[in-house]
Symmetry: C2
Subunit: 210 residues, 2 copies
C-alpha cells in the first residue's frame, strides 16, 4: 500500500455547493485557467466538443438565475458557466489533427484515418448528440475538480430552461446547453456530503445482473 495521491482526498470531500459568497469574484485570467484545465478531459477523436460561456456580470447572472428556475447559486457564484456541446464540432477536426501531426502527437496516416472515420460516424445526428453530452460532461467534471483544487467550489445544475438560456445568451441551434456550473467561494464550511449507494449496488463483476 503506497501513500495515497492527494487527489483521492479531494475527490472524496468534494461536494455540490449551493451557497456562494456573492462578494467574491474571479478575473478573466482565473476563468481561463479553469477552462484550460477542464479541456484536458478526453473526447472522441480529440474533437473537443465542449464550449463554455462564462457568465459573470450581476445582471447576466440574474437573468441566468431566472432561466434556472431561481436557483440562487447561479446568481451568487462568482461565475456560472453555461457548458455547451458543439453539434458540428467534427468540422474542426481536420485543423485539430493537422496541429497534432505538426506537434508529433500523431502520425499523419492515423490522423487522416481518424478524420475519415469521424466524418462517417457523425453523420448519425443522435449519436453526435450523445457524444457532445459525454464530452461536455467529462470536461465539466474536470472543471469541478480543478475548481476544488484552487480552494473554490462548484455546483452543477441540469435543471434549467434551455430555450431561454439559448435566447438570452446568444446560443444558436448548433450548440447544445448540457449543464450549468456555478463556481465560486463556498459559504458553507461544513456542508454535509450526501451519502452514496453501497458500491455493490452499482457494480457487478463479469456480467450485469438483469
Amino acid at each position: 500500500m503506497h501513500d495515497e495521491h492527494p487527489i483521492l482526498e479531494l475527490i472524496r470531500r468534494r461536494t455540490t455547493v449551493e451557497h456562494f459568497d456573492p462578494q467574491h469574484s474571479l478575473d478573466e485570467a482565473e476563468i481561463r485557467d479553469l477552462v484550460r484545465d477542464a479541456t484536458r478531459a478526453p473526447s472522441s477523436f480529440n474533437i473537443q466538443h465542449w464550449r463554455f460561456v462564462a457568465v459573470r456580470e450581476a445582471g447576466d447572472r440574474e437573468r441566468l438565475c431566472e432561466a434556472a428556475y431561481g436557483q440562487a447559486q447561479v446568481r451568487d457564484a462568482a461565475v456560472t458557466f453555461i457548458v455547451l456541446g458543439d453539434l458540428e464540432a467534427v468540422d474542426s477536426l481536420p485543423g485539430i489533427m493537422e496541429e497534432a501531426v505538426r506537434q508529433g502527437a500523431l502520425p499523419e496516416g492515423k490522423a487522416k484515418a481518424w478524420v475519415e472515420m469521424a466524418r462517417k460516424i457523425y453523420v448519425d445526428e443522435a449519436m453526435a448528440r450523445d457524444e457532445v453530452i459525454r464530452s461536455a460532461s467529462l470536461a465539466a467534471m474536470t472543471l469541478m475538480l480543478a475548481a476544488e483544487a484552487r480552494g473554490l467550489a462548484a455546483g452543477a445544475l441540469s435543471g434549467f430552461d434551455a430555450a431561454r438560456v439559448r435566447r438570452e445568451f446568444g446560443i444558436g441551434e448548433r450548440y447544445l446547453p448540457v449543464m450549468l456550473l456555478a463556481v465560486g467561494s463556498p459559504l458553507e464550511t461544513t456542508t454535509s456530503r450526501m451519502p452514496r449507494l453501497d458500491v455493490d449496488r452499482v457494480l457487478a463483476f463479469d456480467r450485469w445482473r438483469s
Copy 2:
C-alpha cells in the same frame, strides 16, 4: 499565488492510453475502491444513475474487444468497465433520500420535495436519457482520475456495438451503455499528449458568439 494542488499536475498529464500491460491484473478490492471513488461524482438529486460492469476474465475481455471493433486496449487492460446509466434510477430515489435524512445530510421536507420533483421531471424519457449520459460521464471522468492517482491509466471508448455489448453481458433495456473504460497498467512511458484548442476558441465571456 499559492502552491498548486497536485491534482492540477495530474489533470494536465493524464492522457488516454491505448497500450496496456496484458500481464497486469487488478483484484476485486482494488476495482471496488476505484468505483467507490467514481461514485463521489455529483448527479441530479443524487440519483446516482451510474452502474458499472467490471470485465476482467480473458475470455470476457476478448468478447468485449470484438464488440468494440477490435480496439486492443479492451482486451489488454486489467479491467474494462462497461459504464451504464440506469434509465429507471429515479425509482431508487426514495430509499436514497431516506438514508440521507437518516444521516442528517438533508432535512426531511427537502428530501420529500426532491423525490416529488424528480418523479415529475423523469416522466420525460428523452430528458431521463440525457441525464444518465451526463451522470455516467461525470462518474467516468472521476474514475479516470482516480485510476491515474493510483499509478494506473485509463482509456475511454465511445465506439462500440451497444446491442452486442448488451447481449453478451446481460444488460437489459433499462440500462444504457454510455462508454467503455479500459483501466490498467500503461505500457507507454512517454505517451504524447494530444494538443488542445486554445482556450479562447472554446470560451466566451458573457454571451456566446454565434
